[in-house]
């Protein structure tokens, strides 16, 4: 069995420094959701110097647009969406103290540099494992932008939410280090 590191949110520098690319991590606590449309709105507020609808400092944003919940379920299937679409907005959020993002796929150089500067982590959730991941989401509520439907900002309470550290705060990047080992 692979060793799994358990962490709780909110995050701080101390918790983050110990996480290394390749670590399997289970997250417990509150996390926020956000994808394309919500990010655009947050970014527009930051540009105008206005207050955000959520406190960003120390938080984790999960890039997801969940399926509707079936009766009796706190949340519908909720796997990660592809992260690069959020790249143009991410450094501004990291500058405000965002400590972690959860998604899938490559990040831009600017995001990786900003993660190093701001000591933040990029976690990967397994794309398409949406029904499995949803089991760790115990509570879901809409916090902002309800009009966006699945794209609204939700706050999840998660228990042992399964992720892998893809890029740590020293810019070690699993997408760069692992595939070459299996290249023929």
């Amino acid at each position: 069995m692979r060793n799994i590191i358990k962490i709780t949110t909110p995050l701080n520098d101390e918790k983050i420094i110990n996480l290394k690319a390749g670590d399997f991590v289970n997250i417990t606590g509150y996390i926020y959701t956000g994808r394309d449309a919500a990010h655009k709105r947050l970014f527009d507020l930051i540009k105008k110097g206005l207050e955000l609808p959520i406190e960003i400092k120390g938080q984790v944003i999960y890039y997801v647009g969940p399926a509707p919940a079936k009766p009796g379920y706190p949340c519908g299937s909720a796997g990660p969406t592809t992260s690069y679409r959020m790249d143009p907005y991410t450094p501004a959020l990291l500058d405000l103290g965002l400590k972690g993002t959860i998604g899938k796929g490559l990040r831009s150089k600017k995001v990786i540099e900003s993660m190093k500067k701001n000591k933040a982590i990029y976690f990967g959730a397994v794309g398409g494992a949406a029904a499995l991941i949803a089991r760790s989401i115990k509570k879901s509520e809409v916090i902002a932008y309800e009009d966006l439907g699945a794209e609204a900002i939700h706050r999840y309470y998660v228990e042992d939410f399964p992720v892998i550290v893809i890029i740590d705060c020293q810019s070690n990047n699993l997408y760069e280090t692992e595939p070459p080992k299996y290249k023929k």
Binding site: R2, G65, A67, G124, V126, G128, L174, E178
Partner: protein, 281 residues
């Protein structure tokens, strides 16, 4: 003429989209189990285990396999002796999609205007519908909920005839390499060669739904499928892009006659959750 009511079409479309979004076909489940044996990366194995467990949960609880329940794509073969009564063919299909996505707790992912408003239609319609007229009096349906993490990695290249099979292999492998972890590997690669630019992509998409492990009947194309799959799996991208020797589960090529001056090649990438369902009326 055999009469088929529009309502029957609606019900069939609804039934098939629900089925496709909850249940991964047995051939794909078996291929994932085989991939688990082939994979040498420990992280890759963990990822494959999660995918298999996920598909089992979705199927037994009848919940969406992936939250991206996709654009509703349909390939329909309409028998020329079937007459649709009591309604409109296209409306019936869209109504079936709407009911499946509303009543089945599936995500509505369609925006009306691709550039400016981008307002969600809230029904997951309009569907993308391809209709072929065939002999007979039946209607055959192939439905594919198509997620966009993988759709966004698709590519088209109008190759020169002189580029030959080597040029095709190179283009397809390069498309998969560039996509890296984004399309949720292990992927299924649909390839359409020939026809026109548009038709090549349509047959590439339909090729994704072919039974996993079945090769093209033409031995030359079957050989090309095997060769491309080996080259892709030698890239090392692996499950979820975290390294490994299983990057794609299958490469399916379809081909059509084309113009003397051209050799269109379309690559339609599909994630490991290659969802589809078939039915007949």
């Amino acid at each position: 003429m055999r009469k088929i009511k529009a309502n029957q079409i609606k019900d069939k479309v609804k039934e098939l989209f629900l089925k496709a979004n909850y249940h991964i076909d047995q051939d794909l489940m078996q291929r994932l189990e085989d991939a688990l044996k082939e994979e040498t990366s420990p992280i890759g194995k963990s990822v494959l285990n999660m995918i298999i467990e996920n598909n089992q949960i979705a199927s037994s609880e009848e919940i969406a396999i992936c939250q991206d329940t996709g654009l509703a794509v349909l390939f329909i073969e309409l028998g020329q002796e079937a007459q649709i009564t009591d309604g409109d063919f296209t409306k019936a299909i869209n109504q079936g999609v709407k009911e499946a996505y509303e009543e089945g707790y599936l995500r509505k992912s369609v925006v009306d205007d691709p550039v400016f408003e981008r307002k969600n239609t809230k029904t997951n319609t309009p569907a993308i519908i391809y209709t072929d007229i065939i002999p007979g009096d039946k209607i055959k349906f192939l439905v594919m909920p198509k997620g966009f993490g993988s759709e966004n990695m698709s590519a088209l290249e109008m190759l020169k005839p002189a580029d030959g099979p080597e040029g095709i292999v190179k283009f397809i492998v390069e498309t998969v390499r560039k996509a890296g972890p984004n399309p949720c590997p292990p992927t299924i690669i649909g390839v359409g060669i020939g026809g026109t630019a548009d038709r090549a992509m349509v047959i590439a998409k339909k090729a994704i739904a072919r039974e996993i492990g079945c090769h093209n009947k033409n031995e030359k194309y079957a050989l090309m499928e095997r060769k491309i799959l080996t080259k892709i799996n030698n890239l090392g991208i692996g499950p979820a892009g975290l390294g490994g020797n299983v990057t794609s589960l299958a490469v399916h090529i379809e081909y059509l006659p084309t113009h003397i001056a051209g050799m269109p090649v379309a690559v339609n990438v599909c994630c490991h959750a290659a969802r589809h369902a078939e039915g007949i009326l």
